[in-house]
């Protein structure tokens, strides 16, 4: 007889398991619509690979895993994808999450499956890939991808493989009936895992309140190396770390994994799913779920397709809604109230609990903590719940962490024993989430700081580069000036050289001067000619328009006027050039265009400055008014279309802001002196 160990604490709540054990597993059937959330497991949600309207077959993959810690989703029956959208899911928040909705066609047509005649022929990686592609995630309630759990690092030795058939939580019997009715599949699945992991020993752990399951498994395990170990009933011995301690006497280190002490644990439901996936090639598309509670006429266990609305399953079991105050997914200790009875069954839904009026009453109002220490005696992880409670109230996160808050398994034993009815677990859950949130915020703020500092450094560098460039230019200018000064005051030779240079330049300019002159004149003449041509065409067009009585007459008229003015200017320029031409020296001719350009720019600036205050303000006002009008139109159309409230509010705000700006601009236009 194997030695059985005990873990600290634990409680003995009323089991209430017999209600759902009266009948064998029933089939829940195919509902008309199945809703499959993309994230039914711990890790990254799967990504859809089907389109709306596409026909899918039973067992066909409809969403592929994203990343290592993720599993795919399969169609539980044949039908058509009717939507891929956000739907409410079974989550305590009541929030929506992306789901694939399948309208079933009732034909239940299978997709082709890859079976394995002999899994012993398959490589380790191939087996793991098949488990992963079958979409198997821990079915005891946590939903951690099984393939990830089974992917041991090379070199790490698995001493003990534990199949968890404990099911310690009250009311739930899904694993119990599975062990009673399908012990062969469990043992066969365990042998696949044995082949995969080569453990030193394989144990199936069961509490002693399930004698039928124990007998069935013992019979099935006859002649194999698998040992069925029975131990006294206590909550929460089904917790992974607690079960390991019961069976091996070893504790999983804080923050560590069972594999660190050479143990791997799998739920019986997951083992059956692995068996089905490897031997029959069937992906995870259904599970056994307990439906129980006083508000259920015929409580029992059902094989139910994933994605089945809870309402449909409840109806199968004779749900009396009027007797039910809240619907719980999971057990009474660790489950949560679902927001709506229409949310779908997922891979982790091991139980639907519909308590009647007298059953599981709402907790009485919490009283003050009296420091009795009963919670510390009940805690299976040997924490100090009363201390954690104080720190959680005071939000002393550092102390919470130093008191090992993250080792809490949220089993609820402390709340159950608390004579003051303090919802202790809720404090720990909230604090854990808050600590994680703070860590994430801190990471984010670190990231922002790095970006800010990088930007600051970049701006500084750019500024420094600019200053350096400016300094270099200044220095170069100084050097040139110095060189010039040195040349002026130096020996005769440099003077002579400078004079020579100047003379050479003059000669060159004189040589090119005439040519330059000619080209300038040519250009001006050409301008006059083309402008005249343009004037002629414009005039003829105008005449035509006037003859036809077109709307364009005024526009054409202004065009003609403008061209005429241009022509006059061109002619004048030509005349001036011809007059000045002979009088100009060669050097002046070269300087003239530049001087003219400068003069023009100055004139333009003066004109701009002259009309600036009034005209500019008027232009601005006009622009603002246009924008205001546009925004008003948009607001009106948004309101008419019934857009989101947020958009309408934002637009309304913009309108008021623009109105303010417009009135300010008007004010400014009235009293330009203020600006």
């Amino acid at each position: 007889m194997r030695k059985i160990f005990d873990f600290h604490g634990g409680i003995h709540p009323q089991e209430n398991k017999h209600q759902s054990l009266q009948t064998p597993i029933r089939d829940a059937g195919i509902p008309p619509e199945l809703v499959l959330p993309l994230g039914q497991h711990i890790g990254a949600p799967a990504s859809p690979i089907v389109e709306v309207g596409q026909r899918v077959l039973k067992g066909q993959m409809i969403a592929e895993p994203l990343g290592f810690v993720s599993v795919p989703v399969h169609a539980p029956t044949s039908g058509t994808v009717s939507a891929i959208e956000d739907r409410q899911i079974a989550h305590p928040s009541g929030l929506q999450a992306p789901c694939i909705v399948i309208a079933s066609d009732g034909r239940d047509e299978w997709a082709p499956l890859t079976t394995a005649a002999d899994y012993r022929q398959l490589a380790r990686e191939e087996l793991l890939a098949r488990i992963r592609n079958a979409g198997i995630a821990g079915m005891g309630g946590a939903g951690f991808p099984s393939a990830v759990k089974l992917s041991t690092r090379p070199g790490s030795q698995v001493n003990t493989l534990i199949i968890n058939g404990t099911e310690c939580e009250p009311y739930i019997t899904a694993d119990d009936v599975l062990m009673r009715e399908q012990p062969g599949r469990i043992v066969a699945g365990a042998r696949i895992l044995q082949h995969l992991l080569a453990p030193g020993e394989t144990l199936i752990g069961i509490e002693d309140n399930k004698p039928e399951a124990i007998a069935a498994l013992r019979a099935a395990a006859q002649g194999t190396e698998i040992e069925v170990v029975v131990f006294p009933t206590k909550y929460p011995s089904g917790g992974e770390k607690q079960l390991i301690e019961i069976l091996t006497g070893k504790q999983v280190p804080s923050g560590g994994l069972p594999l660190d002490i050479g143990v791997i644990c799998q739920n019986v439901g997951s083992v059956v799913a692995i068996h089905d996936a490897i031997v029959e090639g069937r992906p995870l598309i259904s599970r056994v779920t307990t439906v129980t509670g006083e508000a259920i006429a015929e409580p029992g266990n059902f094989t139910v397709l994933l994605g089945t609305p809870m309402q449909y399953l409840l109806a199968r079991a004779g749900y009396r809604a009027e007797q039910n105050r809240r619907l719980i997914m999971g057990g009474p200790m660790m489950g949560f109230t679902v927001p709506d009875a229409n949310v779908p069954i997922v891979k982790t839904t091991n139980c639907l609990l519909a308590p009647g009026h007298g059953e599981l009453p709402a907790p009485s109002p919490a009283q003050a903590c009296i420091r009795c220490g009963m919670c510390a005696q009940a805690c299976p992880v040997s924490l100090l719940p009363q201390q954690l409670f104080w720190f959680a109230q005071g939000k002393e996160f550092e102390k919470l962490e130093s008191h090992q808050l993250f080792d809490c398994i949220e089993c609820g034993a402390c709340s159950w024993v608390c004579p003051s009815n303090i919802p202790l677990v809720q404090y720990y859950r909230a604090s854990k989430a808050e600590v994680l949130q703070l860590r994430r915020d801190h990471e984010r703020s670190d990231q922002s700081r790095m970006r800010f500092e990088a930007r600051q450094a970049r701006l500084e560098r750019e500024e420094a580069e600019k200053t350096a460039k400016r300094a270099a230019r200044k220095q170069a200018a100084q050097q040139r000036a110095q060189a010039a000064a040195a040349g002026g005051s130096g020996d005769e030779d440099p003077i002579q050289a400078a004079i020579d240079r100047a003379k050479a330049k003059k000669a060159a300019q004189q040589a090119g001067g005439a040519q330059h002159d000619a080209s300038e004149q040519e250009k001006l003449e050409k301008a006059v000619v083309t402008t005249r041509q343009r004037l002629e065409t414009a005039s003829s067009k105008l005449a035509q328009a006037q003859a036809e009585g077109s709307d364009l007459v005024t526009a054409l008229q202004t065009g003609v006027d403008k061209t005429r003015a241009k022509l006059a200017a061109a002619e004048k320029a030509l005349q001036e050039f011809q007059q000045a031409g002979p009088a100009l020296t060669a050097g002046d001719a070269a300087g003239d265009p530049a001087a003219a350009a400068i003069a023009r720019a100055m004139a333009a600036r003066q004109a701009d400055a002259a009309m600036a205050p009034a005209d500019k303000a008027r232009n601005q006002l006009q622009g603002l008014e246009q924008r205001l009008e546009k925004t008003r139109d948009r607001l009106a159309s948004s309101q008419a279309n019934g857009d989101e409230q947020k958009i309408i509010e934002a637009l309304a705000m913009t309108v008021t802001r623009l109105e303010e700006k417009v009135s300010a601009a008007r004010e400014q236009l009235k009293n330009p002196g203020d600006a």
Binding site: S93, K395, R429, E453, T654
Partner: protein, 205 residues
Amino acid sequence: MLEFIVQYPLLSALLALVGLGAVFGAVLGFAAVQFKTEGNPIADQINALLPQTQCGQCGYPGCRPYAEAVANGEAINKCPPGGEAGIQALAALLDLEVIPLDEEHGEEKVKAVAFIREAECIGCTKCIQACPVDAILGAAKQMHTVIASECTGCDLCLEPCPVDCIDMIPQRESLQTWHWPLPDPASREPQVIATDAEAAEDRAA
């Protein structure tokens, strides 16, 4: 040695004290040079507690300058994005009293992310220049867009936008951000005794 001490007790005592002073002075002087800390370590610690939105609502151009100011005695309640929790953390670090947020500098708001209505963006790059964490992408006369994961929600891009095409969108609660709330402390106040609650339930039933 002993003779000298016996002969000149006062002088030897003086010598001993001066000698001790010289030795410790040398050790301290060496330590001051050898283990000199660069920058202001307290300002670094304060900066680590600030939310790094770089929003300037405190009146300083960024979190780092405010951290330095706080290290030099500035009030700790001028950071609205840090909120109540930030003030508490600063008070704990600096051993100061927790004071309420200075409303002159703004209120604690829901976290938001800037969003550019891209159809209206004229590509002026003004928001890009205003963004303290380089979270806006774009080029002159090209549409700009906000990198949502990097945006700190500081509002600094709103003011310079000439066409008012930037909205601050409050972050929506998702499955990733949701977590269990702390139990309502009010429910712990024994307003009704337990038997009253049961009686009320029975009546309701």
